[in-house]
Every structure is written in structure tokens, then in C-alpha cells.
């Protein structure tokens, strides 16, 4: 495939997908750096991998089921203790449904 053009607009697009707010000057700097890294990564294209299966993980065992019994867990209080804002016994977030 053709190498993608990594410019300010592309970086802003990807940053939005990643929930990062970047200034234009940050986006410009990352565009240059990412373009170099992506062009380095393009060397993978030199290899024919049509018949090679992907490796997503190297886990040796299948994950076993644990016994279905209730075990102690964090208290409600402990779970909320590190939250920047708490309201009515829950994590407080800005309104996201009008």
C-alpha cells in the first residue's frame, strides 16, 4: 500500500481518536517524528507473510476457570478514595447527555 501522509491534519485526527488535545505546534512536531518512525516500520512490507498466522499473544496455557465463589474485593469507600471528584457515592463526570 502507498505510504500514508503524516501531517498536522492526520495527527489531529489520530489525537482525536485517542482523546488527546494537542496544540498545532505539538501536532507539527509529532507529525515529523511519526513520519520517520512509520517510514522505518515500512521495512516490514519487504517480507511476504501471506501464509504466516498472526501472534496476538504467547500464552502457553488456556486460561482456566476459577471456582464460582464470592471472594473479598475492594470496599466501596476504597474504590472511590482516589477519584478526583465523587458525588452521591459515585465517580462524578461532566454531563454527557443533554
Amino acid at each position: 500500500m502507498a505510504a500514508p501522509r503524516i501531517d498536522r491534519a492526520m495527527v489531529h485526527h489520530v489525537a482525536k481518536l485517542a482523546s488527546l488535545s494537542l496544540s498545532d505546534s505539538e501536532a507539527d512536531r509529532f507529525a515529523g517524528e511519526l513520519a520517520r518512525i512509520v517510514s522505518y516500520v515500512e521495512q516490514l512490507e519487504t517480507l511476504d507473510t501471506k501464509d504466516v498466522p498472526p501472534t496476538a499473544h504467547v500464552q502457553l496455557d488456556r486460561a482456566p476457570w476459577r471456582d464460582d465463589r464470592v471472594e473479598p474485593c475492594l470496599s466501596h469507600e476504597d474504590a472511590l478514595a482516589q477519584a478526583p471528584r465523587v458525588e452521591e457515592g459515585g465517580f462524578a463526570v461532566p454531563t454527557f447527555v443533554e
Binding site: S19, L20, F30, V38, E45, V58, R85, F91, P94
Partner: protein
């Protein structure tokens, strides 16, 4: 007095020295040296003394003490410790105090080890020099103008300077082995799944593995035997029995087959490092090992493969830092998405943003198969390289890092040059294999050099036998800065 893990545990168990006194001595060394080294982000003075006294009380009651009785240990700040700050070297977790212990911490405490503090690291373990720590880098005790390596640089520096006899780090692409090499310590990355990742702040989940640093091979083996083993809290942890790793350190290596990959002695390798590592391999041959060349032809593609896979996984793992449940929160009284963006922009450093952007890009529509899919297939080829080599040999020996410790600031403006310093450690990570670094002869300037030993899955014992056999002959043995 600075001694290894085994000697300290023996003294505390026999009652020759109290665990509280051992902790006091370690804290005094940290107090004296850490202003310069910055190995620690947090020193747990009160908790360490209390833990030491608790160990002494158990002994006074006649209870049998654990294998790490009174042994001071430093913990990489990516590992959650109940009641002690755990920031992973990031501003976004500044002040975060986890409400639970990682499984490895529970096991250390149950073995009567004493946690003395949390160590400096590259932010979210992303880096090879410690310069990506949001709190400023740790320094190399051999030359404080140089890096101790990364990302577990603080854990390596603490052990190299003999502030503690051992520490825990985590290794995703070399983050235990490379700093061990650069600081002249023993550093061990177990087989993927050997040690529980529960409570390790995740970077790349298919690669991350916790492991020990120590001043000697037996010390590392003892810490590994304490932290290893199946954990119901980590579905990727393995049920394989925890072998007597320490006993393996005394095993004969006569007849053991060592493979030397030609690809690891190619362009970019410092000639002094090459000479030191080849000399170590010759010594192992004199010990009765059989040395043969092997080929790992996809080595040259490991850096590209790793940076696609690790950043893809990181972009997903780091989505949890959103200003809602823990850590920093910036702005956003009215707009949720603006709050996410502002929090993450203020909380993450440049390298973390760079990797989140790269990882998001390689997973994005239109590019997923070309980059992420491709890298996963090349990862299979890297694994097959090792599978083929291990049909003919028992371990693979090579340099751990292409150069000795470089100067702080030397590579900071060139991300790609920094990534290439992990070229020899990345392949074993991609293949999930156990691998460790053991000090060999230093350079003429006195900088440490590491020999990397890689073994088959779950064959830490074989790897440790080779490491101990070399250590017994190594000119770097007991050499401290």
C-alpha cells in the same frame, strides 16, 4: 555493610541482625546517596521500619521466617503498593495511592521482605534511558553523567549502588535486562506468564513481565522463586510448578549447548562490548559448554515489529487514564470529551503521547492490517526463529545492549535511535522467552557490560545455571561502583 540477598536473609533468620537494623542501614544508604542518584521516587521510611519490626516480632515469637527475611527491596513505581504512592513515573498519577497490593508485593511481604521504596522509571515504562520520567531521570552509579538505562533505571541504579541488594522491575522490550547491563547488575525477565501481572500498571499486556534485579545470580533466583507462580487474579499467569531456582544455580553446565546468533554481532555493536561478551562465551566453553553458531534471521525486523505491537497495546491500555477514577483531572465542568483531552494532554509526557498516537494510528481504520496485522505475522516469524534455534541449542548467548551506558541527553532528541538501543532484548520479549543479563568484563573506561542469556519457555533453571557458572568466573563479580 552491603551484602547480597542470601547473606542478609541468613543473618536475620539466625538472629545475628534484626530486620529493623537492616532496614535502618538501607534507609541510611539511600539518604546518603539518593540525592545524587535519584533512584527513588518515594522512600517508605516508616513503613519499612514497621515491616522490619514486624519481622523481628515474628522471630521473637518463635515463628519460622520466610526466604527473604528482612531483605530490603526496592519496587519499580509501576507496581501497585497499598498505602504507598505508585505513579509509574507519570504526572497523570501524581499522588495516586493504590488501595491494594500487586500479587508480587503480597508474596514479597509473605516471604518477610521489607519494601523500602518505589523506584524511578520512564513514564509508563516507555523509554530506554529514564529520561522520560516525569520526575527527572535516575543516574548511573558508575558515572552520574550517564543513564542507568530504562525503563527500570531506578531499580537498577538502587541495586548497582548497593542501596538495596535486590529490586523488582518490569520488562516489556528489555526494561529489566538493558538497565541491568548498563549498571552491572543481574536482571531477569521470566517467561511470559511465569509471574503475575496483577497490580502492574499495564504498558503492553502481551509483553509485560515483572522480574528481579539483584547483586548476584542466586539473589535474583531467590526473589524469582518468591514472586513466581499461578495467580487467579491474572488469567495469563501459568500453572507450571515453581522449580527450585536457587538450586539450579549450582548445577553443572558441562555439555550444555550455547547458541551464538551472528545477527547479534553485526553493525552497531560497540567493539569493546563484543569483545567482553565473546570472552564470557569462551569461558563458558572452557567450563564444558558446547558453543555453536545459530541464526535468528528476523532479528533486524524486531524493532519495527515491537514498536507497532507495543504501541498498539499501550494506546488501548492507557485509555483508562481519563480523569474519572484516579489521578489527574483537568477542566471539564461541562464537556466530558474536553475534560478527557485536557487531562491527557496535561498528564502525559511527550514520549507517551508519541506512542499513544503511533498505536492509535496502527490500529485505525484503513491501516490496521497493513501495520498491526503485519507486525503480528512477523512476530510469529521471530518466535519461529527461536524455536528453530532451540532444536539445536539449550540457551542463546549474546550482548544485552549494543553499547555501554550512554550519556544523559545523548539520544533524547532522536526517538528512533533510542528505540534501536533495545535491538538485542526485543526478540526474546516478542517470543515470550525467559532472558537475563549478567555482568561481564567492563570496558576500559570501567563501564559495565552485560551478557544476555535466553532460554526456552519455562527453562529459567537452565538459564540460571549458565548465569551462575559464568558469574563464578566473571571478572565483574563483586565489582561495585
Amino acid at each position: 555493610m552491603s551484602e547480597g540477598v542470601i547473606a542478609i536473609a541468613d543473618r536475620v533468620r539466625s538472629g545475628e541482625q534484626s530486620a529493623e537494623q537492616v532496614a535502618r542501614d538501607a534507609l541510611a544508604r539511600i539518604e546518603a546517596r539518593d540525592g545524587e542518584l535519584h533512584a527513588f521516587l518515594h522512600v517508605a521510611r516508616d513503613a519499612a521500619l514497621a515491616q522490619g519490626r514486624a519481622v523481628d516480632a515474628r522471630r521473637a515469637r518463635g515463628e519460622a521466617l520466610g526466604p527473604l527475611a528482612g531483605v530490603p527491596i526496592a519496587i519499580k513505581d509501576a507496581i501497585c503498593t497499598r498505602g504507598l504512592p505508585s505513579t509509574a513515573g507519570s504526572r497523570i498519577l501524581e499522588g495516586y495511592v493504590p488501595p491494594y497490593d500487586a500479587t508480587v508485593i503480597e508474596r514479597l511481604r509473605a516471604a518477610d521482605a521489607v519494601v523500602v521504596g518505589k523506584t524511578n522509571m520512564d513514564e509508563f515504562a516507555m523509554g530506554s534511558s529514564n529520561e522520560n520520567s516525569a520526575y527527572g531521570p535516575a543516574k548511573n552509579p558508575w558515572d552520574v553523567s550517564r543513564t542507568p538505562g530504562g525503563s527500570s533505571g531506578g531499580s537498577a541504579a538502587a541495586v548497582a549502588a548497593r542501596l538495596t541488594p535486590c529490586s523488582l522491575g518490569s520488562d516489556t522490550g528489555g526494561s529489566i535486562r538493558q538497565p541491568a547491563s548498563l549498571t552491572g547488575t543481574v536482571g531477569l525477565k521470566p517467561t511470559y506468564g511465569r509471574v503475575s501481572r496483577y497490580g502492574l500498571i499495564a504498558f503492553a499486556s502481551s509483553l509485560d513481565q515483572i522480574g528481579p534485579f539483584a547483586t548476584d545470580v542466586r539473589g535474583a533466583a531467590r526473589v524469582l522463586s518468591v514472586v513466581a507462580g499461578r495467580d487467579p487474579h491474572d488469567s495469563t499467569s501459568l500453572a507450571a510448578p515453581v522449580e527450585p531456582f536457587e538450586e539450579a544455580c549450582g548445577r553443572s553446565v558441562r555439555g550444555l549447548r550455547i547458541g551464538v546468533p551472528e545477527e547479534y554481532f553485526a553493525e552497531g555493536l560497540d567493539p569493546e562490548v563484543a569483545g567482553s561478551v565473546r570472552a564470557a562465551i569462551r569461558e563458558l566453553e572452557a567450563e564444558g559448554c558446547v558453543v555453536t553458531p545459530v541464526t535468528l534471521p528476523h532479528t533486524r525486523l524486531a524493532v519495527a515489529t515491537y514498536y507497532v505491537i507495543a504501541t498498539a497495546e499501550a494506546s488501548s491500555n492507557l485509555a483508562r487514564f481519563d480523569g474519572v477514577r484516579y489521578g489527574l483531572r483537568v477542566g471539564g465542568e461541562r464537556d466530558l470529551r474536553a475534560m478527557y483531552g485536557a487531562t491527557r494532554d496535561a498528564g502525559f509526557g511527550a514520549e507517551v503521547k508519541r506512542r499513544i498516537l503511533l498505536g492509535t494510528f496502527v490500529l485505525s481504520a484503513g491501516y490496521y492490517e497493513a501495520y498491526y496485522g503485519k507486525a503480528q505475522r512477523v512476530r510469529t516469524l521471530v518466535r519461529r526463529d527461536f524455536e528453530a534455534a532451540f532444536r539445536d541449542v539449550d540457551v542463546v548467548c549474546s550482548p544485552t545492549a549494543p553499547t555501554p551506558a550512554f550519556r544523559l541527553g545523548e539520544k533524547v532528541d532522536d526517538p528512533l535511535a533510542m528505540y534501536l538501543s533495545d535491538i538485542y532484548t526485543l526478540p526474546a520479549s516478542l517470543a515470550g522467552l525467559p532472558a537475563m543479563s549478567v555482568p561481564c568484563a567492563p570496558t576500559r573506561a570501567g563501564l559495565p557490560v552485560g551478557l544476555q542469556i535466553v532460554a526456552r519457555p519455562l527453562e529459567e533453571s537452565t538459564m540460571l545455571a549458565v548465569a551462575a557458572a559464568w558469574e563464578a568466573r566473571s571478572p565483574a563479580r563483586d565489582r561495585a561502583p
